[in-house]
Symmetry: C3
Subunit: 138 residues, 3 copies
């Protein structure tokens, strides 16, 4: 058993879901670990991780719309000094998650046919995001 | 340290919560790994995993009802070509999670007294579901 | 590769978010494992874990308020024999999570600058809570 770690740096250009399956898959395939467990960890409180449908763009539109309406911008937040999109961003992070573990076999993530991995950016004007990738196995 | 992996195949017959604690517990107890970490991974975008109250059936009824009302069927989704229950299924998956890790000691999951592990099926007419079980330890 | 495990016992005195970053950080630093993966597991169905903003108290007030309103107390639950705060507590646990994994390097959790780890207590009159800490690495 051994482990490998990497920090994936992303520069999302807008709010919403950005697929990161390809760079994650690429990194996993090069670690010389055929079988094990991959963990992704998002080092932020206003962006999160989601495993979701990778085929229909409409699914992602509906997902984004649903979360924007569930945690809307507005004047009802006590925390408002970082802009109207900041508190909704924390709420959407809490409703989803910052960590996701995916089993690996034959050097590949065991995602289902329709599963992609997404960074869910919740700020209107995002800055750089860091996702730690950790693989343990043999 | 060593690891073990298995794909648990389930055939839920209805929408809602189905307890899977027993088959998971059974598999864990047979891996010859006394202490470690179990990870469950659901390979789907319309079904998820939940650790919840295993005693009162009423808790599960209320949980199902709450999520159905939070992400209701309706005509307001852009993605509607896989049936009215499909987009709410993706939303409920995003609101819960597809992965759960549970520590193991003495060959048993360290669940609390009232914790059971459930597959949360979100489609009205579900097909086969696959949950990957991965145990690492010694 | 080796592993270490500990049960952190907490006595929250009220509903809401209580930061547990310090005791977790302290335990991690003493395990003689420089690099690896820490997993926290909450052994309850009415309390959960959250990684969130550790600076502004207002963020935590808004988070608590949001979840109280999303899963309010009321007469509409079938499960009501453990008090009006019990079923909302299960719902808030399901909407967040009971497990969180955080990568570790140089004996420290790789949390982002603004990330703290919180116990999210959902009962009005909480009892003792147990969080299992598991660290694997080398």
């Amino acid at each position: 058993m051994r482990q490998s770690m990497f920090v994936l740096r992303l520069h999302p250009d807008r709010r919403g879901l950005s697929e990161i399956t390809d760079p994650v898959r690429g990194w996993v395939s090069k670690q010389g670990i055929a079988s094990g467990m991959l963990t992704l960890f998002c080092r932020h409180t206003a962006a999160s991780l989601l495993s979701q449908e990778n085929a229909a763009r409409a699914v992602r539109n509906d997902l984004e719309k649903f979360f924007y309406e569930l945690a809307p911008e507005g004047e009802h937040y006590e925390h408002d000094d970082e802009g109207p999109d900041d508190m909704p961003a924390h709420l959407k992070t809490a409703l989803t998650q910052v960590q996701l573990s995916v089993p690996v076999t034959d050097g590949r993530m065991m995602l289902g046919t329709w599963q992609g991995i997404y960074l869910f950016e919740h700020r209107a004007h995002p800055s750089q995001r860091e996702i730690v990738l950790h693989l343990v196995g043999e």
